[in-house]
Assembly symmetry: C2
Homo-oligomer: 328 residues x 2
Amino acid sequence: MTEATLDVVGIGNAIIDLLTHADDKFLERHQLARGAMTLIDEATAERLYAAMGPVTRASGGSAGNTIAGLGSLGAACGYIGKLRDDELGAAYRHDLLAAGVRFTTAMATDGPATARCIIFVTSDGERTMNTYLGACVNLTADDIDEALVASAKVTYLEGYLYDDPQAKAAFHRAADIAHAAGRKVALSLSDAFCVERHRADFLDLVQNRVDILFANETEIASLFESNDLDSAFAKLAAMVELAAVTLGSEGSVVVCGDERIKSPAARVERVVDTTGAGDLYAAGFLYGLTRDQPLAECARIAGLAAAEVISHFGARPETPLREYAGLA
Amino acid sequence: MTEATLDVVGIGNAIIDLLTHADDKFLERHQLARGAMTLIDEATAERLYAAMGPVTRASGGSAGNTIAGLGSLGAACGYIGKLRDDELGAAYRHDLLAAGVRFTTAMATDGPATARCIIFVTSDGERTMNTYLGACVNLTADDIDEALVASAKVTYLEGYLYDDPQAKAAFHRAADIAHAAGRKVALSLSDAFCVERHRADFLDLVQNRVDILFANETEIASLFESNDLDSAFAKLAAMVELAAVTLGSEGSVVVCGDERIKSPAARVERVVDTTGAGDLYAAGFLYGLTRDQPLAECARIAGLAAAEVISHFGARPETPLREYAGLA
């Protein structure tokens, strides 16, 4: 097994976020699923865009946010995701390269446009996401850069990839390459409704192909169809090497064999926008892990990275995270 | 004189902001004028874009920010500015319409692309702006919608328009229409270097065509080539009906005849990014003024609107300003 040259390679849906504020009446009027990620078609995306308030545009996507966070912490990263060669695609690519991320996936020259996620943030900081997958549906197993995946200590996959059959094949190929190279595979469960859509697949995946699992409590409840966290932790301990379960304002619990390492949430002045909270938790955690830090320290950095991102609008860090986490 | 149907019409350079964080070393390496607005050509824009970190994209432009702020406060507004019919232009237009702003300016179907401002925010919250004017240079006197201007209580002009000879003619036409309709003309001095470039013109303008002047202390110092604020206030009192001079963390002074109304700055947890501070001060002030509020109350709302915008990344309000200013 050769020395890894990268810390983490992330694979996910490459999506431009279009964020705005909205009130509950707006969500009701447009029948949006509050707090969830809902897949929408292009016509719905156009309709919601026309109805939405002034927009802040930034690169997003779950694994993309995690990789941007890792870059901000100083980790060496790569990213695999499908963009179209349009303006949004160029913007997404710019942001990856600007964060020092290795990005080798060929951009589609035809087919659907670069993906967009229309995000409504309510005054409680909750985000309601509506994703038009666009070019993402054309990510295939052929897009998995074998050398890139094999070179990273951890391959990080987002559960959202399962919403597309071809991306699922890409997902499996990446996991196989990583394991064949003696690396670890991490998975984020992404969203409770996503887990609902792919429960049997996810259970099989977690059991057989995943070493490190990231999830929040509602995703775990959906996975095991039970609200009993202690029993879920026991099941997780038997299925994966390591699981980090976030509990919102209650912090997180890291499950490792018989160990349960509980960490409080880092303090924030005001929760402005929870978009990207889970993604940045994973970034902080993987930063610590790829530097062989104790699990409690991994969880501490994770909590700080999440705290930074929920204290402002948008899913990617605004403050250089090395500084924010006191690592500079 | 017919009843005004709009509160404020803003006329300015319609610009998409591309924001990122940078440190002083970056500014030095790229020879950027810290804290200033520098005009750049397209090649320099491309070079800076390639060198800049991950980007947050949002509509900007001085008068555009002011109008967006006024919309957020609940005022009825219009905007005149030149966009190209490209993706950035469509995004800018979306944001105006989404804020309920009347926007009638024809978008250019050829010529330079929609304008961009590449903004580097340093850790002290200072912003360094680099503007490629693009399509803005094609704003002409013909773009001034006479009915729109005549319908607004106040026509608000940004000094930056003077950087282009054609826009200058548009500027004069708008002021003449407003006055002919018995309305007020407001001007923002925009930037100390902009004042430097057009000092004689600006002095003539302030003396002869402007009723309400917005400026910060460095712009006033540049206008009168003196750091003596009291003497500047006396000169302003003789030249315009009303002047609001912002003093950064020291708040602001409203000059009206012999009156000097000093207001403290509104408290913010942390100055994240000063982009748009002056623009939003003007928004709050004009909101109060068009509702016949006492000058001290105008300055209070102005200070709160500025406080909101400097407490986060980006030049336009994230929190609905009616709520923030306790007007809801």
